[in-house]
């Protein structure tokens, strides 16, 4: 029999009251952990959707300059500015397409055929050649082949010309440069002659060493924007960082909402503990008179709060796992995000916060119990 044991017995003496206090902590832990998991899963989902790993610069014509296109010469200048790093210019447009009897619209990306392997992975088939009339289709277009008729070998009619699908792309996800999953990728040479265009919409620069990103960006800006702003250079790493900072903020906000419920639970623990102290004033007087020190009385009450907190945290942690599964499966659409260590950490965090809240709520009642005058406490009826 120790103070810990005594505290445990005190908690079970008023089991209904203790259970209700524990339920408060359980709800708080679930709220914090689940909302944290949800926010984190949104971030993870976003991370999965974007393909860029922060090694990409996207160069666009500055607003109102050169009719919104980059010329071949400007692309050459950019190529010189970036040294050995990879430069991939592209143009894009949306157009009507038809496959057999089926008609629809699609996004077209025009990329020099030689640059395609550097930017895109072909899942089946091959890359088109500059000289041929071949094209690639995005993974989602291919997945919806039944509806749109697009599949490997299909003939796609764009305007008065027909292209043959020579390859299907691997799923690439959302990117800051191009999003080919729902698009058709054609050789730039075909695009240029078909639409009678000789400019590019944007230039993608793949930087070999991420550490050189800033230097390469500066080099492009120095070369291109010497007199006036001809191009704007978008740093995907910076965009990614701000996007992830935004998802972090969402997570913190959601957890803040959860924390409110835990604070309410803390107030409930405070109330339960104060009631416990009031009911046991005489008992505390007896304990003090037979040699229990103030610090020991305090410890006994803190242990009680700790018990309530631990029970709430363990039950809440287990239920958070279930609730997290439901939230990630239903709201985010992928329950796998729950098993990511960064998500599981929110369960640990919620449990820890539950225990800390409970113990913090027990501090004042414990202090109050310890400060009781033993003579007055003994007289208490």
């Amino acid at each position: 029999m120790t103070f810990f044991d005594l505290a445990r017995r005190n908690v079970s003496r008023h089991w209904l009251r203790s259970v209700l206090a524990v339920i408060g902590i359980v709800i708080g832990v679930i709220a914090i952990a689940t909302l944290g998991i949800m926010g984190n899963s949104i971030g993870l989902m976003f991370g999965d959707m974007v393909t860029d790993v922060g090694d990409t610069l996207v160069v666009s014509p500055a607003t109102g300059v050169g009719g919104g296109k980059l010329t071949e010469r400007q692309v050459d200048d950019i190529t010189r500015a970036v040294g050995s790093n990879l430069v991939i210019p592209f143009a894009s447009t949306a157009d009507k397409i038809s496959v057999g009897e089926k008609e629809g619209g699609a996004m077209l990306y025009a990329i020099p055929a030689g640059d395609m392997p550097s930017l895109l992975e072909v899942e089946s088939g091959a890359y088109p050649r500059d000289t041929g009339a071949g094209c690639l289709i995005g993974s989602q277009l291919a997945a919806n082949g039944r509806e749109n008729g697009l599949k490997l070998g299909a003939r796609v009619r764009i305007g008065d010309e027909t292209l043959r699908v020579v390859g299907v792309l691997e799923e690439r996800g959302m990117g800051f440069d191009i999003n080919p999953d729902y698009a058709i990728v054609v050789p730039y040479s075909w695009y240029s002659s078909h639409y009678d265009e000789d400019g590019y919409d944007q230039v993608i620069v793949k930087v070999r060493d991420v550490n050189d990103l800033d230097a390469v960006k500066e080099s492009i800006e120095q070369r291109m924007n010497r007199r006036e702003d001809v191009v704007t250079v978008m740093d995907t790493r910076g965009i990614l960082e701000s996007v992830f900072a935004a998802t972090d903020s969402i997570t913190v906000f959601l957890m803040g909402i959860g924390a409110v419920s835990l604070i309410v639970a803390g107030v409930s623990i405070l109330n339960v503990m104060l009631m416990s102290v009031t009911e046991r004033i005489k008992e505390i007087g007896v304990l003090r008179s037979i040699g229990t020190r103030r610090s020991e009385v305090m410890r006994m009450f803190i242990y009680e709060a700790l018990f309530l907190g631990l029970a709430g945290a363990v039950i809440g942690g287990a239920l958070s796992f279930c609730a997290g599964y439901v939230v990630t499966a239903v709201f985010v659409g992928n329950a796998d995000y729950l098993f990511d260590p960064t998500s599981l950490l929110y369960i640990v965090f919620g449990m820890a916060f539950g225990v800390i809240t409970s113990v913090a709520s027990g501090l004042y009642p414990a202090w109050k119990a310890a400060q009781l005058n033993p003579i007055q406490a003994l007289r208490h009826e």
Binding site: M1, R9, V286, S289, I290, G291, T292, R293, I375, L378
Partner: protein, 222 residues
């Protein structure tokens, strides 16, 4: 050397209506092995005397020595340890801890002192000495009669082998037959074990057990 020594001890409670003198220059010396009764009318200062003897309170002036320790200048922790190690309390209302079994109630002060478990044997030994059958060891205090509860309370007071027992009307809540049995037990502890007993009572029949009686009137020893 006396177990309890009061030298010119006064206790004054400052109240808005004026100071109340509970003890007024009291001199007392209680030697080891004595059985002392403290008697006096209500408001005579018996409770204050008992509280100071039990190191639950400190005097306003004068010198109090408990088991060789001067209590002036002691902080709350020192006074608590003095109670734990040298004083055994027996209350009128038994004041056992309802959460703990009979044997755990007796074991509690032993654990406080030893800071570990393993005091069960000593607790059982003391319980047997005060006449509690082993079958009652695991019972909760509420399952025992008043007389049995008071025996357990005496066992708890004796557990740490204190220098003296401080009894506050220990038979006040018991019928006369049970009260006599409890007094016989305290008498036995005093005569056979040599325990010093200080007992506050209103009952003049108790004087037959005592070596001497301290009578208090208006905070002074009469």
């Amino acid at each position: 050397m006396p177990v309890i020594s009061f030298e010119h001890v006064s206790k004054v409670y400052p109240l808005p209506a004026g100071d109340v003198v509970a003890l007024d220059a009291v001199d007392i010396a209680i030697e080891a092995g004595e059985f002392i009764l403290v008697m006096g009318p209500s408001g005579s200062g018996k409770s204050t005397l008992l509280n100071i003897m039990g190191s639950l309170d400190v005097p306003t002036s004068g010198e109090v020595t408990i088991a060789g320790n001067r209590i002036s200048g002691m902080d709350d922790d020192d006074l608590t340890l003095l109670r734990r190690d040298h004083i055994g309390f027996v209350f009128q209302q038994f004041n056992l801890i309802p959460l703990l079994s009979v044997v755990e109630n007796v074991e509690y002060p032993l654990i406080l002192k030893a800071r570990q478990n393993g005091s069960r044997e000593r607790a059982e030994e003391v319980l047997e000495a005060v006449g509690i059958a082993e079958t009652h060891f695991s019972h909760k205090p509420g399952e025992l009669s008043g007389g049995q509860q008071q025996r357990v309370a005496i066992a708890r007071a004796l557990a740490n082998d204190p220098d003296f027992l401080l009894c506050d009307e220990p038979t006040g809540n018991l019928d006369s037959k049970t009260g006599t049995a409890i007094m016989d037990l305290l008498d036995r502890m005093n005569r056979e074990e040599g325990k010093t007993v200080v007992m506050v009572t209103h009952d003049p029949r108790m004087t037959e057990y005592a070596d001497r009686t301290i009578r208090l009137v208006d905070g002074r020893v009469a």
